[in-house]
């Protein structure tokens, strides 16, 4: 199969690939493997066990983790949903409303948060909530998450929309569909894979966020990342590895889902 100039035939290709894969994935593999370790130590292997998974759900810290996980999921689902709706509308405005003043500025403003260091956003958000005397709690976390999720949801949605030719909507309007009907019946279904990817990306980003959450959360309110961080400060126990592995599993499932939906692409045709 290999062609004369196939990348796979360059010297060192295999070794470099292997090295990269090891650096990327070895830590994750170690955490996942040791979460099944039947030992209170995090470095010495003493045989397979599910005791730390049982500990996560029933152990002394289980109440704390359950509350944090519940907060995390509620916030992630709400923030991702809201951000996806806003990003879809933004993409429609930027890509389908023709030329308007400040269009380029709008595009810049939407994606700028991706380039601002997260700590700056965190501090700024905290100062903002203090300035308007907004009491910190789940609500402040949710608002901050919606804000920083928008550009992540926007990217796949706008990329998808750019690939949809305007003639589809024109054809719909030529066939007596109003602008609204053309959007709902033609543009929205064609954009769906992008919207789903945007939602999943926003969901994972929100679920995983630590810095901003840590700044804007109220006392006693924890999400999974801040709860894990709190627990780690008292020393790493294998139950942390079990939680981390569970989180990893959720991420993998979400990404896989997004990939399969992306592959079932209705517009990849012709």
């Amino acid at each position: 199969m290999a062609k004369p100039y196939d990348l796979r035939r360059y010297p060192g290709f295999f070794a470099i690939t292997l090295l990269c894969l090891v650096i990327l994935y070895a830590p994750l593999v170690v955490v996942a493997v040791y979460s099944f370790n039947d030992s209170p130590s995090i470095t010495i292997w003493e045989g397979f066990s599910l005791r730390w998974y049982v500990d996560v759900f029933t152990g002394p810290e289980s109440g704390k983790f359950k509350d944090a996980a519940w907060n995390s999921f509620i916030i992630a689902i709400t923030a991702a949903t809201t951000a996806t709706i806003i990003a879809t509308l933004a993409a429609t405005a930027v890509l389908r409303a023709g030329k308007f003043r400040l269009r380029t500025v709008s595009i810049g403003l939407i994606s700028l948060p991706l380039m601002v260091p997260e700590i700056v956003t965190a501090v700024a958000t905290l100062i903002f909530f203090n300035a308007i005397a907004f009491e910190r709690g789940v609500m402040t976390i949710l608002l901050a998450h919606i804000a920083f999720c928008i550009p992540f949801a926007y990217m796949p949605i706008s990329a998808r929309m750019q690939g949809i030719e305007a003639t589809y909507e024109q054809a719909a309007m030529d066939l007596y569909a109003t602008k609204r009907q053309a959007f709902r019946r033609i543009l929205l279904p064609l954009m769906m894979p992008g919207i789903v990817s945007g939602f999943i990306l926003a969901f994972i980003i929100s679920l995983d966020d630590f810095i901003i959450t840590n700044f804007v959360k109220g006392a006693g309110v924890e999400t999974l990342p801040t709860a894990i961080f709190g627990a780690v400060k008292q020393g790493i126990k294998p139950n942390i590895m079990a939680i981390s592995t569970l989180l990893l599993a959720v991420s993998i499932v979400m990404v896989a889902l997004s990939w399969f939906i992306g592959r079932r692409d209705p517009a990849e045709e012709r």
Partner: protein, 363 residues
Amino acid sequence: MPQDTDIAIDVQGAVKRYGTFTALKTISLSIRDNEFFTLLGPSGCGKTTLLRMIAGFEDVTEGAIYLYGDEIDALPPYKRPVNTVFQNYALFPHMNVLDNVGFGLEMLGQSKSETRARAGEALEMVQLSQFAARKPSQLSGGQQQRVALARALAPRPKVLLLDEPLSALDLKLRKAMQVELKHLQLETGITFIFVTHDQEEALTMSDRIAVMSSGELQQLGNAREIYEQPRNVFVADFIGDTNLMQVTVDAVADGRAECHLGGAHRLTCDAVGGIGAGAKVHMSLRPERLFLSADPVDANSLKGRVREMIYIGTDIATIVDLDGGPQFTVRSSNSSRGNARVFEPGTEVAINMEQGAARLLID
């Protein structure tokens, strides 16, 4: 205000400007009811812009467009009873063929059963009933084209707009579709407005043709008029092959103009209003209206030497250098019945012309 029901589309002084660029310069034309009308011109001539203005995708900077007497230029596309076949078909990829064809009827508020029945009829008309459940991606280019046609015809528009719909098809299929389109137009009685840059396609299918270039209407007429009586240099050059010669008019008398075309070559042809003695103008001589002989047959014969012979299949083209003058292409039918005599390169020949073969053109 035009109230004539014989006029399907009446374009009155339509102008289209994008900023400082003028895409259409004051176009006025009337398209008759039940007519196969073609807008023909090279890319960038404004033909597609005009079509999109009729469809409602471009607004009209100045002027007005009427559809059977009603002004439509301010209406959004979905309020105009015209449908378009797009160049890239624009079939909805997430819907099957039947839903694509039924979309317009559904949007018009037809019942589900009515929509299905009429979409089915439209599919039958283009012989694609067996593909109703397929997705557009599962069809060939020619089949997609026919689905696009059925989709645009299903709501029974008053006028059907076709934006270079055949340009993506290969030659054989294109020829077949040309015939099919013409049949569909006759069968449905719907006015067709067809946009193309292919002059042969335009000549074959159209009742009338509007030749356009750089945003202006150059000539409007049926195929024969456009081909045989081109109004200006652009039309003569764009439609078909021709020998385009720079000539000087020496004298005009009794409806005949005496011209010379470099060297000692002279010929007379029908005079054209507006072209007087002393004018330097162009002359068009269609290659198939010329014929070769060993000796001159009349006063209009020109003497030259054969440079090259090109075998085309149906025809033979002979390229002749005039002594001290321009080069001519002469075409003769490749048939034993024809009077075509084959002259080898290097032979001295005379170029003779049929009555009316030479036409003077305004620039």
